[in-house]
């Protein structure tokens, strides 16, 4: 193509044309800008107004008061106690962290605390207070208060501390509260409430599982703050809503009585109301004192608790599993009857029962025993023989229907429910065939059988009523329906009579209720912890504590018109009849005759050398001395 000859005239036309294009483009951009401005400020106005407001207004959470936990009669189990606290509001500090040593001296803080306060002050966001000390004694609080004019940025205020009147008797029941950890803060989507000084959340037990009810809704001081966290002005506050009260089915007095009656043993007791399934008491001892946790537990105390071989940090009602021992026998007998065994048929107990190349033993030579004798005198050989005849497949369902191996709907996250084995289970779990010796072991609650104390009490409740009683702890829950058990009334009457016989003239004859007209019915149990040779049998008292048998007892009373059922397991307590049965007797006695029960307790505690608190204090002092720690300062009441 021949190049076009371009003249000035051409150029001027091109210029005009291109000026039009440029002008048009400029108008286009102008229109775009105005359109965008309109879109942002009209169409998206609402969205951006919200964002702007959430920038402008910040909420300083005012912690709600934690809800109470009360017992079935309204007695407090967990309440709030007024306490004094000291915080620093970083933004109001005039001298920076220089003020910290002065406060530390007034409050007698140790170096660790001083370091923590300094660190938190450096990381803080202006208006968010930093906690200096919790639960400050009144004298120190007053010392800070009078100096407040000279201490800009320091705030002394009244707050609340969790208080458990039951002390260490309710430790395992309620758990404890303490400040949220970094993990918990993340898990709650960085809930700002958890950062507020003095806010504590449930860490164990009911305090943890009922957290959502107990916490309540935080209120807040609404403030206008700058992007750097400087407070500009205060807006109208939002009121807080206290946490809800939770009523338990627990009878606080009974619970504490049972806890103290456990004495220095390691174990637990569960008392149930058989008509409703209400759990009246479920202490697990020894325990920790949740009050110490809510004050902030010392490392030494934590160490002492975790080193204790009586496991004070374990809830033995729900977390510990034990072989049932002979307490399984009433349920086994029920299963035998159901399978058509004649209760009059006798078995000759010679004290030993050979099976293959192994010999199973009984603790005595009972001679000829029928079913009633076998329960009353706790003969093992009778159950070996009869259960072997019937077979595990027919036994296990009946035993399970009594509550063994059952998981209950309770507000605890640590519930373990144990095992009642059968051939299918054995195949699933251990990939082996069920053997006759498994039936033999199971017949007296050994081998693979594992239960917890709550199941023991549930079994007693179900046998005493003939109905499927379900334990209940929260008063707000409806009482579960109690359909009748699939057993003959005649069989039930027979088993109950046999259990009454256990206390009347059988293995637990020493643990009769000392009240005319009220009889207790029960079944003792002694669960082997390790396999003993024949020559060791009966040598329980002599062996090392850790190797001694567990002592179990399940009971209900009154025998003729049952109202209460109890299950008790004392770890390494020895014969059930000797240790667990008297404990259950006194616990039931408390329900029928408080005075007499308290007298028994005072005699019992004297024999141990003082009340629970005195003994704990003595043991703590001994532990501290043994570990080279200075004795604790005397605490104010």
């Amino acid at each position: 193509m021949k190049p076009i000859r371009i003249t000035s005239a051409h150029q001027s036309i091109t210029f005009s044309r291109r000026m039009l294009v440029l002008g048009g483009a400029q108008i286009g951009v102008g229109g775009l800008l105005i359109g965008r401005l309109g879109w942002l400020s009209i169409a998206e106005n609402e969205k951006y107004q919200l964002l702007s407001e959430s920038n402008r207004v910040q909420l300083i959470p005012v912690p709600p008061r934690r809800g109470w936990i009360i017992d079935r009669y309204g007695k407090p189990i967990a309440i709030n106690k007024a306490s004094f606290r000291v915080d620093i509001i970083p933004q109001q500090l005039e001298k920076g962290t220089d003020i910290v040593p002065q406060i530390a001296k007034l409050l007698e803080l140790d170096d660790d605390d001083v370091d923590r306060v300094r660190r938190e002050l450096e990381d803080s966001r202006g208006f968010q207070p930093v906690s200096v000390a919790d639960n400050v004694p009144y004298e120190q609080y007053a010392a800070i208060t009078v100096r407040l004019p000279d201490l800009p940025g320091v705030a002394a205020s009244q707050g609340f501390t969790r208080f458990y009147p039951g002390g260490s008797t309710v430790g395992q029941l309620v758990g404890y509260v303490s400040p949220a950890s970094a993990d918990e803060y993340e898990k709650e989507n960085k809930n700002p409430l958890l950062l507020v000084p003095g806010v504590k959340i449930g860490k164990e037990g009911l305090e943890k599982t009922l957290e959502s009810t107990l916490r309540g809704q935080p209120g807040g001081q609404r403030v206008e703050v700058t992007a750097r966290g400087k407070l500009v002005k205060e807006l109208e506050p939002k009121p807080d809503i206290s946490g809800g009260t939770v009523q338990l089915t627990i009878d606080s007095d009974l619970h504490q009585y049972a806890a103290r009656r456990i004495g220095d043993q390691s174990g637990s007791v569960v008392v149930m109301d058989v008509s409703t399934g209400d759990i009246l008491a479920m202490p697990s001892m020894p325990s920790f004192n949740p009050n110490n946790f809510s004050d902030g537990i010392s490392q030494a105390e934590w160490k002492m608790l975790s080193q204790n071989d009586h496991l004070p940090l374990v809830d033995k009602v729900l977390e510990s599993l034990y072989p049932s021992g002979s307490t399984i026998k009433p349920s086994m007998a029920m299963a035998l009857l159901n399978a058509g065994i004649d209760r009059k048929e006798r078995v000759n107990c010679t004290g030993s029962y050979p099976l293959g190349n192994h010999v199973f033993h009984c603790d005595k030579r009972h001679g000829l025993v029928d079913m009633n004798d076998a329960i009353v005198r706790s003969c093992d050989i009778y159950f070996y023989e009869m259960c072997r005849r019937v077979g595990a497949e027919k036994l296990a369902p009946m035993v399970r229907s009594m509550g063994f191996g059952e998981k209950f709907d309770l507000p605890f996250d640590n519930q373990r429910y144990g095992t009642i084995p059968d051939p299918q289970w054995m195949m699933r779990k251990y990939h082996r065939e069920w053997q006759t010796y498994d039936t033999i072991n199971m017949s007296i609650g050994q081998g693979m059988v594992l239960i917890n104390p709550l199941q023991l009490a549930t079994m007693a409740s179900r046998i005493s009523t003939g109905r499927r009683v379900v334990p209940r702890l929260l008063k707000s829950r409806l009482i579960a329906p109690q359909p009748p058990l699939a057993v003959d009334q005649d069989h039930l009457d027979f088993i109950r009579a046999a259990m009454a016989g256990v206390v009347d003239h059988g293995t637990a004859a020493a643990a009769k209720l000392p009240i005319p007209g009220i009889q207790m019915a029960g079944k003792t149990g002694t669960a082997q912890v390790h396999k003993l040779g024949a020559n060791e049998r009966g040598g329980h008292e002599n062996s090392v504590w850790k190797l001694r048998d567990h002592s179990l007892f399940a009971a209900f009373a009154p025998a003729d018109n049952p109202r209460y059922a109890v299950g008790a397991i004392l770890e390494h307590g020895g014969f059930g009849a000797q240790v667990a049965a008297p404990l259950v007797r006194d616990t039931l006695l408390f329900l029928f005759n408080k005075q007499m029960a308290l007298q028994n307790l005072s005699v019992f505690e004297q024999s141990l050398g003082g009340t629970l608190d005195e003994r704990i204090a003595r043991r703590t002092a001994a532990w501290r001395e043994a570990n080279g720690l200075p004795p604790l300062p005397a605490k104010q009441a």
Binding site: P3, I4, R5, I6, T7, S8, H10, Q11, T14, F15, S16, R18, M19, L22, G23, Q26, I27, V29, G30, L32, L33, I34, R36, L37, G38, L40, S41, I42, E44, N45, K47, Y48, Q49, L51, S52, E53, N55, R56, E224, V225, T226, A227, R228, V232
Partner: protein, 370 residues
């Protein structure tokens, strides 16, 4: 032009409508700066006012320059600015991570600012010298490309992406109007689209981050996207009528960063709303339209090209800043002329306006000169 017997002729001949418009924008800017300082004339409004009136005086004085003078200083101004740009590389000191200033005794000069008008004048002068028949030849293209490319690269390495883009756009506008063949603009634009990913790869970390965040501001609302996010919140929450003078919470509570400099439009829109924003855009539009009319009415090729290029400079300032503030362009650090706090932008814009006024006077009195 105001005609009155009382006012002396030299004064009456000034383009008063333009001066009022510019002064109105600047005064509104001072009001916004007063609010941005939390309702205080210090530290910005007073200082900005002084700088504005100083350069307004300079601009009015410049309006008596003849077109011949402007022509004669075009190349020297360009040369001097180029030398200063090179000097910045050697002598300049680092501020805000960018080498942009040249310390000459007490005066701190940002040579890249001068480059915008200097580039326009130089290219206008260059194309005036190119004979009409040569315009589609290679010799009409490569010198302009060198004149434009060298300073652009020097500014880019400072690094000052915003000014670099501005200088390039101003230069390209003049070349476009000069009548270069269209493929010169279309082919590089297409190539640019292809090359964009490569350039992106070679960018400074913070520049790349700004582009990332521009493309997806939600990605990092507390970090690099914070500027754009907070700016959009400020503008959007203003609504139609705004939150009222001194009631902009975004700027007063420091949520809006750079609320007195690059993001001053957001500060303004939060308090004055859509209404204030549209009025400000229309006011700038009037100034640019006035400049474009100066170009259209110009009788010389230099006047045409220079006036259009200078108007385009003001246009690019406003357009890039507003697009950036409203989330339509990446944050490249271009201030809003006459409103943003800072002397450089005021200086550049007033230089442009002074030159435009001179060219405009030339048109009215042109008959006498020629």
């Amino acid at each position: 032009m105001i005609t009155s017997a009382i006012i002396p002729l030299p004064l009456a001949r000034l383009p008063w409508r333009l001066i009022f418009l510019v002064a109105a924008i600047a005064m509104f800017g001072l009001v916004v700066l007063y609010s941005a300082a939390g309702g205080s004339a210090q530290p910005w409004a007073v200082k900005q006012g002084i700088v504005f009136f100083l350069f307004l005086g300079v601009a009015i004085a410049m309006s008596w320059m003849s077109e011949a003078t402007i022509k004669s200083i075009a190349f020297p101004l360009y040369g001097a600015t180029l030398i200063m740009l090179i000097g910045v590389e050697g002598l300049g000191f680092v501020s805000k991570g960018a080498q942009r200033w040249l310390e000459l005794g007490p005066i701190r000069l940002q040579p890249s600012e001068f480059m915008k008008p200097a580039m326009v004048l130089t290219l206008a002068r260059f194309y005036e010298l190119v004979p009409a028949g040569e315009i589609r030849r290679w010799r009409a293209i490569w010198p302009a490309a060198v004149l434009l490319g060298v300073p652009a690269i020097l500014i880019l390495v400072q690094p000052d992406l915003g000014t670099c883009i501005m200088v390039l756009l101003c230069g390209i506008t003049v070349m476009f109007l000069a009548g270069l063949p269209l493929w010169i603009f279309v082919v590089p634009a297409a190539a640019g689209a292809v090359a964009a990913p490569i350039v992106y790869h070679m960018m400074h970390g913070y520049q790349r981050q700004r582009i990332d965040v521009f493309l997806d501001p939600e990605r990092d609302p507390l970090g690099a996207g914070y500027h754009i996010a907070q700016s959009k919140i400020a503008i959007g929450s203003g609504g139609i009528w705004g939150k009222g003078f001194l009631h902009g919470s975004q700027s007063h509570l420091d949520y809006l960063p750079e609320g007195h400099t690059d993001f001053v439009f957001a500060t303004m829109a939060e308090e004055w709303g859509l209404v204030g924003g549209v009025l400000l855009i229309l006011a700038f539009g009037s100034i640019i339209r006035w400049g474009m009319k100066v170009s259209a009415n110009s009788r010389t090729r230099f006047g045409q090209l220079a006036a259009a290029g200078l108007s385009a400079t003001i246009f690019f300032y406003v357009a890039i800043n507003l697009m950036m503030v409203m989330g339509l362009a990446p944050v490249v650090g271009v201030p809003l002329p006459l409103v943003s706090f800072g002397g450089s932008a005021v200086m550049t814009v007033m230089l442009c306006l002074g030159l435009l006024m001179a060219l405009e006077r030339q048109q009215r009195t042109g008959s006498k000169v020629t």
